[in-house]
C-alpha cells in the first residue's frame, strides 16, 4: 500500500489539486515538481481532473499553469469546461496558458521528430507567466505519432527531465482502451512517473459509474482501492470522504419532530444534528411527516432544504397544504428550498454531488430527503448504498438535523435493512404502516429505534386532519391498540359514559342541593316556631305579673281604706313592677291619713 519508509527525507512535498476527496485520498495531492500520469478510457474524466487541478491552483493559490492539448483544440476544451464554473476564459487570459499541440491531420510525417522545440516554447511561456503546473493532455496521441518505442521513451524522459529542471509539477493524461490491458499500456510511462492514477468509467446496470484509483505513488501513503467519482457543477469530486474516523458533534438540544404528540413518543423530540429514518409503504404519510418537520423548522427560522425524488415541489407543497402544512410562505421567504431530482436522469453519485452543492448554497440546518429509497433504483445496489450512506454521514458532518424517508416493500420495515441499509446508521427510525382490521385501513406509527432517548414502544394511530397530522389517544383492548372505527367506537363509548356520569353527577348534585334547601326551610320554620313560642312565653309571664300587680293594688287600696300600714312585701312587689311606682302616693296617702 505504501512505499514510504526507508528514504524518509525524500518524501516529496505535495501540491493540492483542490479536487474534493482526491487530496484526502492521496494524502495531500500530487507530488510537487514530479510527474503524475492519469490514465483512463474515453470519457473517464482525465481532462476534467487535469484542468480542474490547474484552475484550482490559479484560483486558490494564484499559481499559474499551462495546458498542452495534443488531442483537442484549446477552444473546445475551454468551451467544454464552461459548465463547471471555473471561469476558465478569464483565467486563460492571465494565469493559464493553453498550447494547441494538436497536430493537423494534413501534416505529413517524414521521419522522427522530438519535443525539443515545444519544450523551448513552454519554457519561455513558463518564465513569462510564472507557471508551476503543466498538463500534457493526450500524451498518447503524441506517443502514437512518434511511432516507435525508442522515440516514445526518449520523449517521455525528455519531458520528465524538463519538468524536474524547471521545477514544474506535471500531469500527463493518456487514454487506455479499458479492460485489463490498461495496466500494461504505457508500461514504461508508469515506471517513469511518480504517481499513477487510473480513472474508469463503466456501465453498471445501465448507469454509467465513474471510479478513481491511485495505483502508484512514490514515497507516499495513499488509500488503495477504487473510489466513486461524480461530476457536478464544481467539477469532478471523489467520494473519498468516508473518513475512517467518525466525529460528529453530539448536541443535547431537542427539536420538534413536527408535532407535540410525536415528540412525546420520542421522549421530547429529535436531537439536533441527528438523522431520522421514516419508512413506510406508499401512502402511509411519510411525506406529510417530513413536511411537518420542515414546516416546524422554518417556523423556528431555520434554513431548510427539502429534496424530493420524482415529484415536483409545486404538487408537494399543494398536497401538504391540504393537511394544514404551509410551505409556500417559507419558500417565498427563502428559508425553505425545495429541489426535485429525477432519479433516472443521473447516477447516484451525481445526485450526491448535486445535493452537496445545494447544501453549500442553501446552508440549511434541517434537511429532508423524500424518499431516499428512490436512489436504490439507480444502477447497482451497492453503489446506491454507498451513496445513501455517505449522504447521511455528510448531513451528520455538517450538523444537519435530517429526516429521510424510505419506501419499503409490503409492510415489513425490515425490508429496508436489505435495501439501502440506512436504518443502521440513522439515529431514529420511525415506521409507518397500514393496519387492516374490521375492514379498514388505518395508518399506524411506531418507533423502531431512537438512540439516546426514551421512546414509546406503542403503536399509535396517525390521523391526518386539516390542521396537520396528529396521533390519536390510545385505546387498548385485549392488549391491542384500537384504531379507526374500533377506536372511534371506543371513543364514542367513552364519551357516552362520560356524559352519563356527568348527568348522574349533576342529578345527584341537584338532589343534594334540594335536600339541603329543604332542611334549611325546615330549620327556618322551626326557628320561626321557636320565636313564636318565645314570644308567647314572654307574653305569658308579663300577663302574670300584671295580674299580681293589680291584686296588690287592690290589697293596698283595701289597707288604705282600713288605715293600715302598707305591707312591706307590697312595696317590694310594687318595685318589681315595670311601671314606676308612685312614691308620693303611699306618702300622700299616709299624709292624708295623718
Amino acid at each position: 500500500m505504501s512505499r514510504a519508509g526507508k528514504t524518509a527525507p525524500r518524501i516529496p512535498s505535495k501540491i493540492p489539486t483542490g479536487i474534493s476527496g482526491f487530496d484526502e485520498l492521496s494524502g495531500g495531492g500530487l507530488p510537487r515538481s514530479r510527474t503524475s500520469l492519469l490514465m483512463g478510457g474515453p470519457g473517464s474524466g482525465k481532462t476534467v481532473f487535469a484542468l480542474q487541478s490547474l484552475a484550482n491552483g490559479v484560483r486558490q493559490r494564484r499559481e499559474a499553469g499551462m495546458f498542452v492539448a495534443f488531442e483537442e483544440r484549446p477552444g473546445q476544451i475551454i468551451a467544454n469546461a464552461s459548465s463547471f464554473g471555473w471561469g476558465l476564459p478569464a483565467l486563460a487570459r492571465h494565469k493559464l496558458f493553453f498550447l494547441d499541440a494538436h497536430l493537423s491531420p494534413a501534416t505529413v510525417q517524414s521521419g522522427e521528430f522530438d519535443l525539443g522545440g515545444m519544450l523551448a516554447i513552454l519554457k519561455r511561456k513558463k518564465e513569462e507567466i510564472g507557471a508551476r503546473w503543466i498538463v500534457f493532455d493526450g500524451i498518447d496521441v503524441l506517443l502514437t505519432l512518434l511511432g516507435n518505442p525508442v522515440a516514445e521513451r526518449r520523449e517521455i524522459y525528455r519531458v520528465r527531465d524538463w519538468l524536474a529542471d524547471n521545477d514544474m509539477t506535471g500531469i500527463l493524461t493518456a487514454k487506455i482502451d479499458g479492460g485489463t490491458s490498461g495496466a500494461v499500456q504505457y508500461g514504461f510511462v508508469q515506471f517513469m512517473v511518480d504517481c499513477v492514477i487510473r480513472l474508469d468509467r463503466r456501465l453498471e446496470e445501465g448507469v454509467s459509474v465513474h471510479r478513481i484509483e491511485i495505483t502508484k505513488y512514490r514515497g507516499s501513503e495513499f488509500s488503495t482501492g477504487e473510489f466513486p467519482v461524480s461530476f457536478g457543477r464544481r467539477g469532478l469530486e471523489v467520494a473519498a470522504a468516508d473518513s475512517l474516523e467518525l466525529s460528529h458533534a453530539a448536541s443535547s438540544e431537542r427539536l420538534t419532530a413536527g408535532f407535540e404528540r410525536l415528540d412525546e413518543m420520542l421522549g421530547g423530540g429529535l436531537y439536533r444534528g441527528s438523522s431520522t429514518l421514516v419508512t413506510g409503504a406508499p401512502g402511509t404519510s411519510k411525506t406529510t411527516l417530513a413536511g411537518k418537520f420542515a414546516e416546524a423548522a422554518c417556523r423556528r427560522g431555520e434554513r431548510t432544504l427539502f429534496i424530493s425524488f420524482d415529484e415536483a415541489p409545486e404538487p408537494i407543497a399543494r398536497n401538504l397544504s391540504s393537511v394544514g402544512i404551509r410551505l409556500k410562505p417559507h419558500i417565498r421567504s427563502g428559508l425553505l428550498r425545495m429541489y426535485s431530482a429525477r432519479t433516472e436522469a443521473t447516477g447516484a453519485e451525481e445526485h450526491l454531488q448535486k445535493l452537496r452543492s445545494l447544501i453549500d448554497e442553501q446552508q440549511p440546518r434541517c434537511l429532508v430527503i423524500d424518499p431516499l429509497s428512490a436512489v436504490a433504483k439507480i444502477g447497482k445496489l451497492s453503489t446506491s448504498r454507498g451513496v445513501a450512506n455517505r449522504l447521511v454521514n455528510m448531513a451528520k458532518d455538517k450538523g444537519l438535523t435530517t429526516i429521510i424517508t424510505a419506501l419499503v416493500k409490503g409492510d415489513d420495515p425490515q425490508t429496508e435493512a436489505t435495501e439501502l441499509q440506512i436504518s443502521t446508521i440513522a439515529d431514529t427510525w420511525i415506521h409507518l404502516s397500514y393496519l387492516v382490521r374490521s375492514g379498514e385501513r388505518n395508518r399506524a406509527l411506531s418507533i423502531i429505534k431512537s438512540r439516546g432517548t426514551w421512546h414509546s414502544n406503542q403503536v399509535r394511530e396517525i390521523v391526518l386532519g386539516e390542521s396537520g397530522p396528529t396521533l390519536t389517544d390510545v385505546y387498548a383492548e385485549e392488549g391491542e391498540v384500537l384504531m379507526g372505527t374500533l377506536r372511534w367506537q371506543k371513543e364514542a363509548e367513552e364519551q357516552a359514559r362520560t356524559l352519563l356520569r356527568r348527568t348522574e353527577f349533576d342529578h345527584k348534585q341537584r338532589e343534594l342541593e334540594f335536600a339541603e334547601a329543604e332542611t334549611r326551610a325546615r330549620i327556618a320554620v322551626l326557628e320561626s316556631d321557636l320565636q313564636r313560642q318565645r314570644d308567647e312565653l314572654a307574653l305569658n309571664s308579663s300577663g302574670h305579673e300584671a295580674r299580681n300587680l293589680s291584686s296588690s293594688e287592690r290589697e293596698s287600696t283595701l289597707r288604705r281604706m282600713r288605715n293600715a300600714r302598707p305591707a312591706a312585701p307590697t312595696v317590694a312587689a310594687a318595685a318589681r313592677t315595670k311601671r314606676p311606682p308612685t312614691p308620693g302616693a303611699p306618702g300622700k296617702t299616709g299624709d292624708g291619713a295623718a
Binding site: 517524414s110 521521419g111 522522427e112 521528430f113 525539443g116 522545440g117
Partner: protein, 108 residues
C-alpha cells in the same frame, strides 16, 4: 532573427516556380541536424530550379514558433506555391516529403 539561406539557380526561367520553405529546428538535437542535412540533399537533387529556405531555431525564437503553430521539431512548412504543406520529422522519409512538396519523384 532567422537565418535565411537562399540558393537561386544560375538563370531561372520566368515560367519556373521557386519553392518557399521554412524549417523549424531545435538547434543541437539529433533530429534537427538530420533534418537540415536531409532537406539539403533533397533540394540539391530536386529543386534545381530554385528554392527559398528559412531556418528558424525554435530554442532561440520560441514565440515565432507559437505564432506559426509549430510544436514538434524538426518541422518543415512549404509556404508556396500552393498548396501549402506541413511536414513533421527529420525528413528521412523521402517519398512522403516529396509528395508533400509537390515534387514528382523520378520513376526508377
Amino acid at each position: 532573427m532567422a537565418r535565411p539561406r537562399r540558393k537561386a539557380a544560375k538563370s531561372p526561367p520566368a515560367a519556373l516556380t521557386v519553392v518557399v520553405m521554412r524549417l523549424y529546428i531545435a538547434a543541437g538535437s539529433t533530429n534537427s541536424v538530420k533534418a537540415v542535412a536531409n532537406l539539403d540533399a533533397i533540394c540539391r537533387e530536386y529543386l534545381k530550379e530554385g528554392y527559398e529556405l528559412e531556418i528558424v531555431d525554435v530554442i532561440k525564437y520560441p514565440l515565432r514558433a507559437v505564432t506559426d503553430g509549430v510544436l514538434v521539431t524538426p518541422s518543415l512548412a512549404k509556404l508556396s506555391p500552393a498548396p501549402t504543406a506541413r511536414v513533421a520529422g527529420n525528413l528521412s522519409d523521402k517519398s512522403s516529403l516529396l509528395l508533400a512538396l509537390g515534387i514528382k519523384a523520378p520513376v526508377k
